[in-house]
């Protein structure tokens, strides 16, 4: 649509004349469709009608939103559909060098540690604007991540295959060695995390014959060093700082750099010319071992079934936790009333939990409790009251009687387990 301002003197005249029978229609038309509060005056000035500004709020009181968000929403059909993505697109066609990053990808997605690491890689790659490097992310196995471009990866090497499922450090190292042989990145960056990055990075460094910097938490440019960088690394069980030149392989701690937020990158897929080498592993993964969920510390439990005042049948609740394989948690009320032990309390005065899935049964969500579950990924609420704070926090909320829903859930999980057992027996 053209951005030229076309003036219609007759309509402007009608808009000025409040007694004209067509006054309101013309006012609405000139005001850009839906908002009659502003229109273009005869001298090119914007005129506004203060009585037409704002909207009637839920309590019947007129509200005025000065940010313009309301009017913008009203005009959105005629002007822009949605706010533009203001991030700059960066494409690096012929990189001077590569910075390889091997993210952890817990549960198939980039963790915040991985994003920090990609931010660190961008610092290394973008140091010289006339000779930019490219950040290469090396991913193993299946993943669910779709935003490598926003995280700052220019190239994406996805090494798929059966061989990388489970604990396969030897196969992964062999694959990384072939990456080294073909692409020869200038830097290798890995997360120094217990999720696997720490181990993989040390194995890689030893295999490449490099002395890595471990527990790096800061880098700074330094022309005197070999690659132009110095790093600050924790040493001696975290009690000292070592300032040294940045070697080729570095294992960085979380929050080592700011994650990428202002640019989008290409995340262009690359492949290895030669296939992956066959590796005869001396370590065999026999699979996960069932652990007693009650024995897992509440602070690091992965799946918590938490009970509050809304739980009436406590035997059924304990049975449900056992069937689901969840660690038990409780709100303060349940603990104070003596239904649960004190060490099971979740919240500001109890334990701050970091579960991936937190199921709150009959918990209304006091602010102290919501603080305690800030670190949880997915929150499921089962509650009778549809207006409580826990429902607002929850990713999935089911309004209803907690006892009946838990019973139905237990029946469903038992059916599922039964089916799994049959399939295993058949196979």
């Amino acid at each position: 649509m053209s951005e030229l301002v076309r003036r219609d003197p007759r309509k402007e005249w009608i808009a000025r004349n409040r007694l004209h029978p067509q006054h309101l229609e013309v006012l609405a038309e000139l005001g850009g469709g839906a908002s009659p509060s502003e229109w273009l005056g005869p001298n090119g000035l914007m005129r506004r009608d203060p009585h037409a500004v704002g909207f009637i709020g839920p309590n019947g009181i007129k509200r005025i939103d000065r940010s313009g968000a309301q009017q913008a929403a009203a005009q959105s059909s005629s002007r822009q559909a949605q706010p533009e993505d203001t991030r700059r697109r960066v494409e690096i066609e012929a990189p001077a060098f590569l910075v390889a990053v091997v993210p952890d990808m817990p549960s198939g997605r980039l963790s915040s540690h991985d994003r920090d690491l990609l931010g660190l890689a961008r610092q290394l790659a973008d140091a010289e604007p006339e000779r930019p490097g490219a950040v290469l992310a090396v991913i193993f196995g299946e993943h669910k991540e779709t935003h490598f471009d926003e995280a700052g990866a220019d190239r994406l090497l996805h090494l798929a295959g059966e061989g990388f499922a489970g604990y396969m450090p030897e196969a992964r190292i062999a694959a990384l060695q072939s990456v080294e042989r073909e692409l020869t990145p200038r830097h290798w960056l890995l997360p120094d995390s217990t999720l696997g990055g720490a181990e993989l990075g040390r194995r890689l460094a030893v295999r490449l014959g490099e002395r890595p910097a471990t527990q790096v938490w800061q880098i700074e440019a330094d022309a005197a060093s070999e690659h132009g960088w110095r790093c600050m690394a924790r040493g001696a069980a975290g009690s000292s700082d070592i300032s040294r030149t940045l070697p080729r392989v570095a294992l960085a701690l979380a929050e080592c750099a700011e994650p990428v937020s202002e640019t989008r990158h290409a995340a262009q897929p690359v492949t290895l010319a030669q296939g992956l080498p066959e590796v005869l592993g001396r370590i065999e993964d026999l699979g996960a071992v069932a652990v007693d969920p009650a024995g897992v510390a509440l602070a690091e439990a992965e799946f918590i079934l938490s009970a509050g005042n809304g739980v009436k049948d406590w035997d059924a609740y304990h049975h449900a936790a056992q069937v689901l394989g969840a660690t038990e948690g409780a709100s303060r009320v349940a603990v104070d009333d003596g239904f649960m032990a004190r060490d099971r309390q979740v919240g500001a005065t109890g334990t701050w939990v970091t579960a991936r899935v937190y199921v709150a049964v009959g918990i209304s969500g006091a602010i102290q409790h919501l603080q305690g579950i800030q670190g949880c990924d997915k929150v499921v609420a089962i509650n009778l009251d549809g207006g409580c704070d826990m429902i607002k926090r929850a990713d999935l909320a089911v309004i209803g009687d907690a006892g009946a829903i838990l019973a139905a859930l237990v029946a469903q999980v038992e059916r599922y387990r039964e089916q799994q057992r049959e399939n295993r027996d058949a196979a």
């Binding site: 939103d65 000065r66 968000a69 030897e170 181990e199 040390r202 194995r203 030893v206 295999r207 890595p212 471990t214 938490w217 924790r234 001696a236 069980a237 975290g238 009690s239 000292s240 700082d241 300032s243 040294r244 700011e258 001396r282 370590i283 993964d285 026999l286 699979g287 996960a288 071992v289 652990v291 024995g295 897992v296 510390a297 690091e300 439990a301 992965e302 799946f303 394989g325 991936r356 899935v357 199921v359 919501l370 603080q371 997915k378 929150v379 499921v380 549809g386 607002k392 926090r393 999935l396 909320a397 089911v398 309004i399 209803g400 009946a404 829903i405 139905a408 859930l409 469903q412 599922y416």
Partner: protein
């Protein structure tokens, strides 16, 4: 019972690498926490022959710290003498090649010096043995194969089978070490061994200082209007846009929850 007293050829040999630790509060030399857990794990194994190996300086402070391991029930520690700034990996690799143990246990990282946790990997690479990290328990050692439990984050465990000889590291997820008894610690002895050391040249170029507090990450708000800035400052922690099932039967509700649990992979 002293563990390395009766000699037997049939029982598998387990060597534990021990180091001198550093108490985080008093800064005194002590037995290193993770290494003590490795020793504890070796002591908890049945039908094995355990030995302790330490490579480092031979002075009063570190000897007193090493006695902490002797007090856990050992008669001797094999001490490979090295100067204070030396790279102990080659000497240790040589010693292990001579001793030829079936399994080598060690802590994941040292409490002094660089503390990079690289030593077990270097030994594994130079000896050509497999390495397993984060051991929680050793289940069995038989017919040249060890079955071990590996500790994962969030209290999970994984069972692995490793071809021996192998190196395994122990982290703080392993069972805590027993107390060191004073009498056995006094009676035990250090058997010294001379091996040529290699000076660590890179170490001299580094600047080491006491750890300073890491800067806290600032919450950066990129807002274009005053209203957005106010909302960012005053916002409550909310999931935002969660699905709410009103008027659903218990079965429908359970179905929805079950689907979410399946998707997140928490039902085992």
């Amino acid at each position: 019972m002293p563990h390395n007293a009766p000699q037997s050829a049939t029982r598998p040999n387990v060597a534990v690498l021990v180091s001198v630790g550093h108490h985080p509060l008093t800064a005194r030399a002590r037995r290193a926490d993770q290494d003590a857990r490795a020793v504890e794990m070796a002591l908890s194994l049945n039908d094995i022959q355990a030995s302790l190996i330490h490579a480092g300086c031979h002075d009063a402070d570190s000897d007193a710290a090493l006695c902490g391991y002797l007090g856990m029930g050992f008669e001797a520690i094999e001490l490979i003498e090295q100067s204070s700034g030396a790279d102990v990996a080659p000497a240790l690799a040589e010693a292990l090649r001579d001793a030829a143990p079936q399994l080598v246990l060690s802590g994941a990282r040292a409490e002094t010096g660089e503390g990079s946790g690289l030593l077990p990997y270097l030994l594994a690479e130079s000896l050509g043995w497999p390495i397993v990290t984060g051991l929680a328990a050793v289940e069995s050692i038989e017919h040249g194969v060890a079955t071990v439990l590996q500790a994962l984050p969030r209290g999970q465990r994984r069972r692995l089978r490793v071809r021996l000889p192998a190196i395994a590291t122990v982290e703080s997820s392993a069972p805590a070490a027993r107390q060191s008894a004073f009498g056995p610690a006094r009676r035990g002895e250090l058997t010294c061994q001379e091996r040529p050391g290699i000076d660590d040249e890179a170490l001299a170029e580094w600047r080491v200082q006491p750890a300073r507090k890491r800067p806290k990450r600032l919450k950066i708000v990129k807002a274009t209007s005053a209203r957005d800035r106010f909302k960012a400052a005053a916002a409550k922690a909310e999931g935002g846009g969660g699905q709410v099932l009103n008027d659903a039967t218990p079965e429908q509700g359970a179905e929805a929850i079950f689907k979410l649990l399946r998707e997140e992979g928490v039902l085992r």
